[in-house]
Subunit: 178 residues, 2 copies
């Protein structure tokens, strides 16, 4: 692949918050011309497809303020500083749903929006879940939903699930679930 | 699904740029408590899986400043104000790769990062491509790559392609390509 590296000439921090940092960089393109890039910086994340048993999955529903609507998704969350991705996945599954598992598999890592944001998420499949108690962050309101695998397939086929990571994790797991 | 609607109490516009707008909202949760939400506002987008012929796909490689690396992706871009998503898909494919097509199919719409951003992208499959001339934005540096479908499958299976929309669009098209 050709080299189109963009060299940072100047970097302006516009905002540093709880979840995102916003930066505006002036860059030199590979042919010596200049442009600006708006960059959203975001912690790495984990995404978990939780297979309760051979026939059922666990989904979560939560209100997503940027969309002003409630979405059905699989559990996900940010990796804490210095936290191992697998440990973050185990923690987020337990906190958001109460479930734990001894059977974990990593299905890869993906950039959801490389055009403007540096987020990467690690995708996991968790099988044979053991139930427990939800432990949500103070401002999280998450409802747990049990779906049959067939129902999830129907929801995905009809585009009733519109969360990209949920659909991607489902396809990545296809040869591992019934 | 339970109703966890978050009501905006106050909204602060922090930044309004070329690609993103950043807002910080104070919200009232469904149980009457308060929190803040950082919201990145982003135009809707289109994503195109371009099938050159039965055996080959077109990919694009470009430097992604937020990651400081070059990524292999399928063509994608923002929908202009008042532009129809299909027209945006046709325009982005032509601008980024030079190719056009008379054979388009919509494969659904997805939210890549609903936790902090309102972006939605519409996924299209374009078949039987007709070659033409690239027409890039002033600050775009995009190289076109022809991959066999088998090579794309291998790259996806090995997680060598890490762009989520590319892998999602591939799976959504699976029963439509060889």
């Amino acid at each position: 692949m050709p080299n189109h590296t963009e060299t940072t000439i100047e970097s302006e921090l516009i905002y540093s918050g709880k979840i995102v940092e916003l930066r505006k960089d002036t860059v030199e393109l590979s042919d010596g011309t200049f442009s600006t890039r708006e960059l959203v910086l975001h912690a790495p994340a984990v995404v978990v497809l939780p297979l309760l048993n051979e026939n059922e999955v666990i989904l979560v529903s939560q209100y997503r303020k940027p969309l002003e609507k409630t979405l059905l998704e699989i559990p996900a969350g940010l990796i804490n500083p210095n936290e191992d991705p697998l440990n973050a996945a185990k923690r987020e599954l337990r906190e958001e749903t109460g479930y734990t598992s001894l059977d974990w598999e990593c299905l890869g890592e993906y950039y959801p929006t490389p055009g403007f944001c540096n987020e990467i998420y690690h995708v996991y499949l968790a099988k044979n879940l053991i139930s427990g108690v939800q432990d949500l962050d103070e401002d999280e309101r998450i409802s747990v939903e049990v779906f049959s695998v067939d129902k999830l397939k129907r929801y995905i086929k009809n585009n009733w699930i519109k969360d990209a990571k949920t659909v991607l994790a489902f396809y990545l797991s296809l040869d591992k679930i019934k």
